[in-house]
């Protein structure tokens, strides 16, 4: 028996890094999955690993910065899974790579980060949360960053988008209190991922968290009811 038996999860940014690790952890615990990412080939590799764990997975190639793609992701996931019990808004865009100071960033970079990191989760959450509210249960996990609340040179575009995502999270959580549907944000810290390497090529991997370890911590948050004070959680 897994702790997520009978539950269906939709994970964005699932082809690599934390999204992939979450898919594997959730699959081990019995959740059926919809996996979303930009490129289909790595998604299918993750799906094959998931299926080896004995659970079903559907893969959806999409750009979450595009409204039509978000609707296609939601509809495909809902069609295949019947319902979404857990949504993990994990996909993120740095805006520009290499990172640029905010004083030098383009408005296109900020727009792109807002489209993928804010509008994407907003649209996807809105699409699946109605079903959760009808059933009176469900969980939305928004992956955030300490750049949402700290000013780091070069991380301004990304940080502003994550601050907006945390704002959405707080409002959703307040509006849905008592509904049976939880919306939380999780700051996983600095991880040894392709995305972090792109942002900070000089970081020492030994100082970075492994996505698999972070996924296990998030899994514990998912299966354990959290007090309201953990609305935005920085993983220990």
């Amino acid at each position: 028996m897994g702790s997520l038996d009978g539950q269906a999860a939709l994970i964005t940014g699932a082809s690599r890094g934390l999204g992939r690790a979450l898919a594997l952890s959730f699959a081990r615990e019995g959740a059926v999955l919809a996996l979303c990412g930009r490129r289909i080939a790595p998604l299918e590799e993750v799906a094959a690993e998931v299926c080896a764990a004995g659970v079903r997975a559907v893969v959806i190639s999409a750009d979450l910065g595009v409204a039509r793609d978000v609707e296609r992701v939601a509809a495909t996931a809902l069609d295949h899974l019947g319902a979404v019990d857990i949504l993990v808004n994990n996909a993120s865009d740095l805006g520009t790579v290499p990172l640029a100071h905010l004083t030098d960033a383009s408005s296109e970079a900020l727009q792109r980060a807002l489209d993928v990191n804010v509008l994407g989760p907003f649209r996807l959450t809105r699409a699946v949360i109605g079903g959760m509210l009808l059933r009176g249960r469900g969980l939305v996990v928004n992956i955030t960053s300490d750049a949402a609340v700290e000013g780091y040179p070069g991380w301004g575009v990304y940080g502003a988008s994550k601050a907006a995502l945390e704002g959405l999270t707080r409002s959703w959580a307040a509006e849905l209190e008592g509904s049976g549907v939880r919306v939380i944000a999780v700051d996983p810290g600095d991880m040894d991922t392709d995305m972090h390497r792109a942002a900070d090529p000089d970081a020492d991997p030994a100082t970075l968290r492994r996505p698999g370890d972070v996924a296990e911590s998030i899994l514990r948050l998912v299966v354990t009811p959290q007090p309201a004070t953990r609305l935005v959680a920085a993983l220990p």
Binding site: A67, R68, A75, L78, A127, G131, L133, L134, E175, S179
Partner: protein, 336 residues
């Protein structure tokens, strides 16, 4: 009933008119009191109470028109009405407004986006404007989601984004047209109703089309089968409810199909062919929240089954006078 003037056909949804979804007008017809009152949908709580059950249709609207080309290279727009896997029954229309019907040829192949082709296999015997298409290649739903456009009629702007077609609880993808009675509901309103003791439960009915794009044919109220599902949770809720309020004629069709007796609904799913006429005696539904349908529309037959014609005519006249807006982006009617 008096005709609805064009200016009272809602061209855009409430959100694009500076209103909340539930900020649209609501006409309340009380059959017992033979009264007609006016409020907004946000005021729904004033008319419902503990023990009432609101039944909504959680079907999600899909962009159900595909543009492609015919064997002779001409452009065609396909609108599936009934989808059974790779077998579609669909109308074919011109790609430009007013989207007049386009006669196809049996045996021809239509080229549709995403590598999808459709063999024209025949016509629907009782409704020859509907073509039987056998899909070849890609999955039809996948292609609709990737390349389809929403169905829009002449009174509404084709530029309205597809997100406005969804109700706030839309879940199961499959409706060709929005189950629009519920478009006016917000979660703020629904959660408030729940807190006040009103139960909210869903059924699924995937809507077909409401028009063949031929006025003469539409006047005969063509109604094809629609897939529906009434689950055990809905059936049990109906069993214990003080009053069942159907949100939309699609919910009426599903519940009356599933009704096994007065206020008895069995969990069931499948295709419904039930046509509800003004003579129909409701078995599962006590009250109705609906959008406004023009005189002559088949939806109005269902409203007519719920409320006597003189009272309905009075409400219709008052709504016209007060400037209510009709159609899927318009105002609402509650029949108690």
């Amino acid at each position: 009933m008096l005709a609805v003037p064009p200016r009272q056909r809602a061209a855009v949804p409430a959100e694009l008119r500076g209103l909340r979804r539930d900020g649209v007008r609501l006409c309340v017809v009380d059959r017992a009191a033979e009264s007609v009152a006016h409020t907004t949908v946000a005021g729904l709580a004033d008319h419902l109470g503990p023990g009432d059950l609101l039944v909504v249709n959680s079907s999600r609207t899909i962009p159900a028109t595909l543009r492609g080309s015919r064997a002779d290279g001409g452009a065609v727009e396909v609108r599936p009405w009934v989808r059974r896997g790779r077998s579609w029954e669909a109308i074919a229309v011109e790609v430009s407004p007013p989207h007049a019907p386009l006669p196809l040829r049996e045996g021809e192949r239509l080229r549709l986006p995403g590598g999808l082709t459709a063999l024209v296999a025949g016509r629907r015997p009782e409704l020859p404007q509907v073509w039987r298409l056998e899909l070849e290649g890609a999955d039809g739903l996948e292609i609709l989601l990737a390349h389809g456009r929403p169905v829009r009629y002449s009174y509404a702007s084709e530029a309205i984004a597809a997100e406005h077609d969804q109700t706030v609880y839309a879940t199961h993808p499959g409706s060709a047209e929005t189950p629009s009675a519920g478009r006016v509901l917000s979660w703020e309103l629904l959660l408030g109703l729940r807190a006040a003791g009103v139960e909210v439960v869903d059924i699924v009915l995937h809507t077909g089309l409401s028009s063949t794009q031929d006025d003469a044919v539409d006047a005969t109220h063509p109604l094809l089968e629609e897939w529906f599902s009434v689950g055990p949770r809905a059936a049990a809720a109906i069993d214990r409810a003080r009053r069942v309020i159907a949100v939309g004629t699609t919910v009426v069709r599903a519940l009356e199909t599933a009704a096994g007796g007065p206020r008895r609904v069995r969990p069931v799913q499948g295709w419904t062919r039930l046509a509800i006429t003004p003579e129909h005696r409701m078995r599962a539904v006590d009250a109705l929240l609906t959008g406004l349908h023009e005189p002559g529309a088949s939806h109005l037959d269902i409203v007519g089954a719920a409320v006597a014609l003189p009272l309905l005519e009075r409400a219709h006249a008052e709504m016209l006078e007060r400037g209510y807006l009709w159609h899927e982006f318009g105002d609402s009617l509650l029949v108690l």
